[in-house]
Symmetry: C2
Subunit: 284 residues, 2 copies
């Protein structure tokens, strides 16, 4: 299988590593507008060669689109315009509505599969690519009725090779859920770090005080602004709703602290403790 | 050295394990109002024996008070009333102002050292006690001028055996900093889990979708309500200020998402990325 990866960074590079190691891909071509990244992806052995967009897309059996979601939305029609008639295109963006909408009327829509593998780290670029990133994680496929059986089957084999559990839903449903379980947590972490930066002049010495609890909440604040700015833009409505819901919970908590209402504070925390039942151990 | 630990749970039990293993304590007595916990602490070999409060306190060279902060505030005067004239009492509570105030005029105030080792996990009880919990972590000593040199020296040796880095500050300063780096992060995590519980009916299946980013923000929401209710009560003013500052940051972020202001969103996230400089790797 000839694979072309547009954007061989954290996600694209990690896909390349596993798909090569597990025999899914024989030859991998990388496409990256940033020539430093393109060169690095070749040097690190993530891709066999770097080639320009049109050449690389034409040569592929499968094209994986692993760039920020605004770029996916923009280039996806051209990718479909350019592929050969048996090729399959899969995007791996963190939002799905805007991306699906960008190609909903494209004559080659059936050759496209909209996917979101829920895996990642706070790092980015080809040097951030790691093996086994996707093992036993969930991948969401959206609008599967608009993909051909053949294209879906290729995607299923690909995510099967990555040992991912596939689930299916509509794009708008995906974007609502992801606002709560991924986009909001990033907002929470970014805002927390900025709050502490604002409140504490001696930032560095403060962090020396911090325990593992604080550190666990700052990890997502290390995430790439290039990746996250377009996610927040594309999913703005759902993200705003989730932030509003979250602020209401904080206000409620604050009122209970103000009133020193031990009974209700205890109850609210007991409720949060339910997370133990569904996420019993540290999920990595 | 004869050690008495009031509350041999996560903190008290972990202290016992390391202080015994490292030769600081020869004999350890546990005090726990909860007879199940007291029995478990003996069975697990955390303490050599469980004894009633007055007996255990009288017998000790060093008394470590490791109960929830409201209980520390309440029992600390009686602990000082009861100890022998050479003994040292150290509390390990997460707040310091109310605790220091409770004994500021006690005739044996000099025999007391107010400490806060910044280490822990989201678990509690004797079975949560682990080895090496404190290694290379920070311990804050408050109001050290009110402790005798001898008492301070014992505390320094004890925390030295635990391989902790000691820093010194006033109790009110401690409580302000800790509001931002520990109490606020807990509020954030509790409120996030409750937001998702509220928004998503099918809680369990939602969590199956969640990636490691979500999981990293839910860890603190597993913490004990018994421990955290009195922390929020005792440090209510600082906690409220930190929640207010945090809500302001969230509102700002929300407005930028609403306006789809990519430039400012990017700048806010770049600012948060500064946390990479001070917390470069995952701190455990």
């Amino acid at each position: 299988m000839k694979l072309t990866i547009i954007g061989p960074g954290l996600i694209g590079g990690s896909l390349a590593k596993d798909l090569r190691a597990r025999g899914f891909a024989k030859h991998i071509i990388g496409v990256d507008n940033n020539s430093v990244n393109a060169k690095q992806a070749v040097e690190l052995g993530i891709v066999d060669e770097a080639r320009p967009f049109a050449e690389a897309v034409k040569a592929a059996d499968v094209v994986l689109v692993c760039v920020p979601v605004d770029v996916i939305e923009k280039i996806l029609p051209s990718v479909l315009d350019t592929i050969n008639s048996n090729a399959v295109v899969i995007d791996l963006g963190s939002t799905k509505s805007a991306i699906c909408k960008a190609v909903e009327k494209h004559p080659k829509r059936k050759q496209f599969v909209a996917a979101h593998p829920i895996a990642g780290t706070e790092n980015s670029g080809p040097s951030a690519a790691i093996n086994n990133l996707f093992d036993n994680k969930t991948c969401i496929i959206c609008e599967q009725d608009l993909s051909s059986k053949e294209a879906l089957s290729v995607a299923q084999k690909l995510f099967g090779a990555l040992k991912m559990n596939l689930i299916y839903m509509e794009a708008n449903e995906h974007d609502i859920h992801l606002a709560y379980i991924s986009h909001l947590p990033h907002v929470i972490s970014f805002a927390m770090v900025n709050t502490v930066l604002e409140a504490e002049k001696d930032f560095k010495s403060l962090f020396n005080l911090a325990g593992s609890g604080f550190a666990s909440l700052t990890r997502l604040a290390k995430s790439s602004p290039d990746m996250w700015t377009p996610i927040f833009r594309q999913n703005s409505e759902n993200v705003i709703n989730s932030i509003d819901a979250y602020i209401s919970e904080l206000e409620l908590f604050k009122q209970l602290v103000k009133k020193k209402d031990s009974t209700m504070l205890h109850q609210m925390m007991e409720r949060s403790n339910e997370v133990r039942k569904v996420l019993p151990a540290d999920k990595k």
